[in-house]
Symmetry: C2
C-alpha cells in the first residue's frame, strides 16, 4: 500500500483523495518517497466562439496516453466541467471524445460526486447568513452573489424579498463564484476557513463587514468536506486522470485546484495540466496567477492546440495562434504547436507543417485525436519527450503584488494580448469602479495592491476587436471587483459578460 | 458475494445501492433467496413546534440496535435530512444522538453524496427549459417553482427577469419539490422519466403543457443517476441503516423512497421505517399515500414516540398522544407507546406507566435513548417481538382514488385529526383554487380524482386550534395544488406554510 492509498477512498467509479492530508503528510515527512513531476501546460488558440473548443481536453487525454505508451509516467489534471452548462446543452461536456476519452465521461459531465453543488450550497448559505445579518442590523448591503448550478435566462436579473424590500440581486454560476476560487487556491481546510472569514460579506453604513465577523465557519467547511478532495479517474487506456474544481477560464481562474496538481506531481514524473480556453485566458492565468502569485509550478513545456480552421480560415484572426506560441516561447517555455485535425482534414498536413515552419515554430504535433487517440501522437513526441526530460532548474517567476493595479493591467494587456499601454482605454465608470474597490479594501483593512489580478473577458476575443490590424487594437477596461477572500481583484475587459449565464439550448 | 453486493458500490464511508437494478433482478428471478421483511413504523406525538422533535430518529436507531441485540435481523430506513436546514441551524441534523447514533452522522447531516443537490439541480434545469420554452413561444406561464438547497429569508418572494419581464416567482426547498416526490415514488428510471414527462410545466394560452412535450428527459435522468441509489450506513453498534430521499412530512410525503424500504425488506426480517413528524403527518402519509395508493407495505406494528413533556405539560394538548395511539390501534396496527426520557426525568416512569395503563395503551417502552441507547430498550421488547413474529397476512388497504377530493379530504380530517366533515371549513378562495386545479387537470388530460391526496400543514398542529375542546375543533382548507408528475394533489390546511423557507438561526 503506497502512502497516497491511505488518503484515498472509493466513490463509486472514481477515487477521491484527501489531497490536503496527503500533501501535509509529505511536508511533515520529507524523507518519504515521492516524485517531483514537471507540469506541462496544454492550452489553445483563442476559440472562434465560447461554445467551440479547440480540443484541449481531447489533446490532454491523447497526450497522456501517448506519453505512457512511450514509458513516461504521465498523468493529467482536468478541471471539472460545469454540470449545469453541460445539462443545459450550452456546450458539450469537457471530457474528451472518441479514442481520446475518459473511461467514464458521464461521471465528469454529470456532477461527479457533487463537488460543484456543495460549493454552490456553501456560497448560498453565506448569502443566507448575510441576510440574517441584515435582519440583525449587522449589515445593510450584501455584496456576495447567490449561486446557481444551472444557467437560467431570467436569473440574469432578479429581485429578492420582492414586494417588500425588493432588493435587486446577482446570481452567478458556480464556476464563477468566489468560493470556487477559494477552494482552487487553498492548501488546507484552515486556509479555506481563513479565506471565507476574509470574504467581504457586505457593508454597514458604508463600512465593509467580513463573514468572519458573524458566520460559524464550521458550517461552511462541513459542507465542503468531500468537495475539497480531488477525484481520480482514468482514460479508456488506463492513464491516470485527476479532476478537481472548475472555475471558468474567461471570467475566473481557469485552472484546476493547486493541490490537485501538487498531489499529481508527487505521484508522477509528468503532469499535464489543462488550462481553459485560449492561451490568453487559461494559460495566462496559470502563469500569472497560479505560478506567479500562488506558488504553482512553472510549466516545463507547453502545447498550444488549434484546429486548422481556427488558425487559418479567418485571415484577420490568423495572427492569434502565432502570437500565443511566440509569447510562451518568449517566456522560455518550450512550446509545441499541436494541430487537432477533424474528419476530412488529413490532406492539409503538409501545408500546415510548412506554414508552421515559415513562422519559426517547433515542429507541430498533428493528429486526428478523436479518431486516433494517443496512438496517433506517440511517434511524434521525440522532441517533446527530450525537452521534458532535461534536468532544468525550476523557474519561479517574481510576484507582481505590490505594483499598482493599473500597472499590472497594462503589463497584462501588453504581454498576453499584444496591446501596449497607450491603447488600454478606460471606459466611463471604470475609474469610479476602481476607486470604489480601493476604498472598500482600505475600509476593510485589505491591501488592495496585494490582490492578484484576474482578467474577466470574453473567451473568444483578446482585444476590443481582434479583426483590426495590430497597430489599432485596443483593450477597454470596464469594471473592478474585489474577491478579498480569494485574494484576487477582477477586472472586466473588452466584451466580458457581467453575469455569465449562458443560453439553454 | 450475495446478490445485493453486485448492486452495491462504495461511496466514501457509505455504500450506495442500485435499488432499481436489485429489485428488478429479484422480480426477474423469483427463485433467488430473499427475505420478506415486515415494516415497523416509528412515528410520534405531534411536536410542540417544528424545530422540537420527539426523538423519532433516536428511537429508530435505538430500536434497531435493541432488536439486533435480541437476535432479530432488523434494519432501519431513514429519510435524508435537509442539509440546508441543518447547515442554517434551523434545526439539528436528523441522525439520532448520544448512544442512539449513526457511526458517521456528519455524512447524513452534510449532504450525503449530493443526492438532494442533484434533485435540486434537476428541478432547476426543468425551470430553465421552461424558460427556453417561453422564449420559443411554447409556454407563456411557468408553473414549476425553482428550488433552493439552503433556506434564505428573501427567497420567500422573488422576481426574476427583473426590470424587463419582472416575473414573480416561487422558490421552494428541495425537500418540498415535485421532483423529490417523483424520486420517492418511482420504482425505475423509466418511471422517473415518465413522471417528469407528465409534470405540468406551465400553460400556453391557458392550455397546460407538460415537460414531456419539449424536454430531453435524458438530461434529467443523467443528473439523477446516483441520486436514485439509496445509501447504506450503520449505527455505532453496527446495525444496518438505509437512507434515501427526504421529502418534508408537513408539506410533502414525509417518507423515504419506496424502493429503499422494499430493498431493505428483501434483505432483513424487520425494517423500521421512520415516518416524519407526528402520526398526523408522517404516519398518515405512510398509511394513506405510500401503502394505500402506491403499494408500500402496511406496517406490522407501530411505535409512537413522545416526550413526557409533550404529552403532559399542556393539558389542552394532552389529547393528541392518546388520539394517535388509538387511531393506529383502530387500524389493527399493534401500537406501542414509547416515551423518550430526557435527563432528570427517570423518576417519572411509574406515573407515565400508570397514565398509559389508565388510557388502555399497551405497556409503554420507556427509556432515555440518548443516554442508554438500545441497551435501555432490549429488555422491554418481549411483547413487541412477539407481535412482529406473528405470521400475519399482509394487509393491503383499498385505494381511495376515484373518490372526489372533497370526500377524501373529509375522511382524512376525521380519521387523522378527529374533525368531522361538518367542521371542515373552506376558506375564501379555496373553491376557486379547487376549480382551477380541476380545470388544469381536465385540460392536461389528467384524471383529477386519480391523484393521491397530500395534506400540507403545520407540523405542530392538527386542527385550526388544537387547544380547543374536541367538539369545537375545525380544519380550514386553503388551497389546492396539482403535482401531476408525482401523481398527487396537495391541499393546504390550517396553518400550512405556503413557502416553507425557515429562518436562519
Amino acid at each position: 500500500m503506497s502512502i497516497i492509498d491511505k488518503y484515498t477512498t472509493t466513490f463509486g467509479l472514481v477515487k477521491k483523495i484527501d489531497a490536503f492530508g496527503y500533501l501535509d503528510y509529505l511536508k511533515q515527512n520529507p524523507d518519504q518517497p515521492r516524485k517531483h513531476g514537471k507540469v506541462l501546460l496544454v492550452t489553445a488558440d483563442t476559440p472562434l466562439k465560447a461554445s467551440r473548443g479547440e480540443g484541449k481536453t481531447t489533446t490532454t487525454i491523447a497526450l497522456v496516453d501517448a506519453l505512457r505508451e512511450r514509458g513516461v509516467d504521465a498523468a493529467a489534471v482536468l478541471r471539472q466541467p460545469s454540470m449545469g452548462i453541460t445539462a443545459a446543452g450550452s456546450k458539450g461536456g469537457a471530457s474528451g471524445g472518441g479514442k481520446s476519452s475518459l473511461s467514464h465521461p458521464e461521471l465528469i459531465d454529470w456532477g461527479l460526486c457533487g463537488e460543484m453543488a456543495a460549493i454552490a450550497c456553501a456560497q448560498n448559505l453565506l448569502v443566507s447568513f448575510a441576510e440574517k445579518a441584515v435582519d440583525e442590523g449587522v449589515l445593510d448591503t450584501i455584496l456576495v452573489p447567490r449561486v446557481s448550478e444551472v444557467p437560467s435566462r431570467s436569473l440574469r436579473s432578479i429581485a429578492v424579498d420582492y414586494g417588500k424590500g425588493t432588493v435587486p440581486e446577482r446570481v452567478v454560476l458556480t464556476p464563477t463564484c468566489e468560493l470556487m476560487q477559494i477552494v482552487v487556491l487553498s492548501r488546507s481546510m484552515d486556509e479555506i476557513s481563513e479565506r471565507v472569514a476574509s470574504m467581504i460579506a457586505g457593508t454597514k453604513d458604508g463600512v465593509p463587514r467580513k463573514f468572519g465577523d458573524f458566520v460559524d465557519l464550521w458550517r461552511i467547511t462541513n459542507i465542503l468536506s468531500d468537495a475539497v478532495k480531488p477525484a481520480k479517474t482514468e482514460t479508456i487506456n488506463g492513464s491516470p486522470i485527476y479532476v478537481h474544481c472548475g472555475p471558468f477560464a474567461n471570467v475566473s481562474l481557469g485552472i484546476p485546484s493547486l493541490v490537485s496538481v501538487e498531489m499529481a506531481c508527487a505521484e508522477h514524473d509528468v503532469v499535464v495540466v489543462e488550462a481553459g480556453y485560449g492561451t490568453d485566458a487559461g494559460a495566462q492565468k496559470w502563469l500569472d496567477i497560479a505560478s506567479r502569485e500562488f506558488g504553482a509550478a512553472w510549466p516545463a513545456a507547453a502545447v498550444v492546440v488549434t484546429r486548422a480552421t481556427t488558425w487559418r480560415d479567418d485571415e484577420t484572426l490568423a495572427w492569434r495562434y502565432p502570437f500565443h506560441v511566440s509569447r510562451l516561447e518568449s517566456l522560455n517555455i518550450p512550446t509545441f504547436p499541436l494541430i487537432n485535425l477533424w474528419e476530412g482534414e488529413d490532406d492539409q498536413v503538409p501545408e500546415l507543417l510548412a506554414q508552421a515552419k515559415s513562422l519559426g515554430f517547433r515542429k507541430p504535433i498533428v493528429g486526428n485525436l478523436f479518431r486516433d487517440g494517443g496512438d496517433g501522437l506517440a511517434d511524434q513526441l521525440d522532441d517533446f519527450v527530450s525537452v521534458i526530460s532535461e534536468d532544468t532548474k525550476a523557474y519561479a517567476p517574481e510576484s507582481r503584488r505590490g505594483n499598482t493595479l493599473m500597472n499590472r493591467i497594462k503589463l497584462l494587456c501588453e504581454e498576453a494580448y499584444g496591446v501596449p499601454a497607450d491603447r488600454v482605454i478606460e471606459k466611463d465608470g471604470f475609474a469610479d469602479s476602481l476607486t470604489a474597490a480601493q476604498d472598500l479594501c482600505a475600509n476593510a483593512g485589505v491591501d488592495f495592491n496585494s490582490l492578484a489580478l484576474v482578467a474577466v473577458k470574453s473567451p473568444a476575443t483578446m482585444t476590443d476587436d481582434d479583426h483590426k490590424p495590430a497597430g489599432e487594437r485596443t483593450v477597454t477596461l470596464k469594471k473592478v471587483e474585489v474577491h478579498a477572500g480569494a485574494g484576487v481583484v477582477q477586472v472586466n475587459l473588452t466584451a466580458s459578460l457581467t453575469t455569465p449565464m449562458p443560453k439553454i439550448v
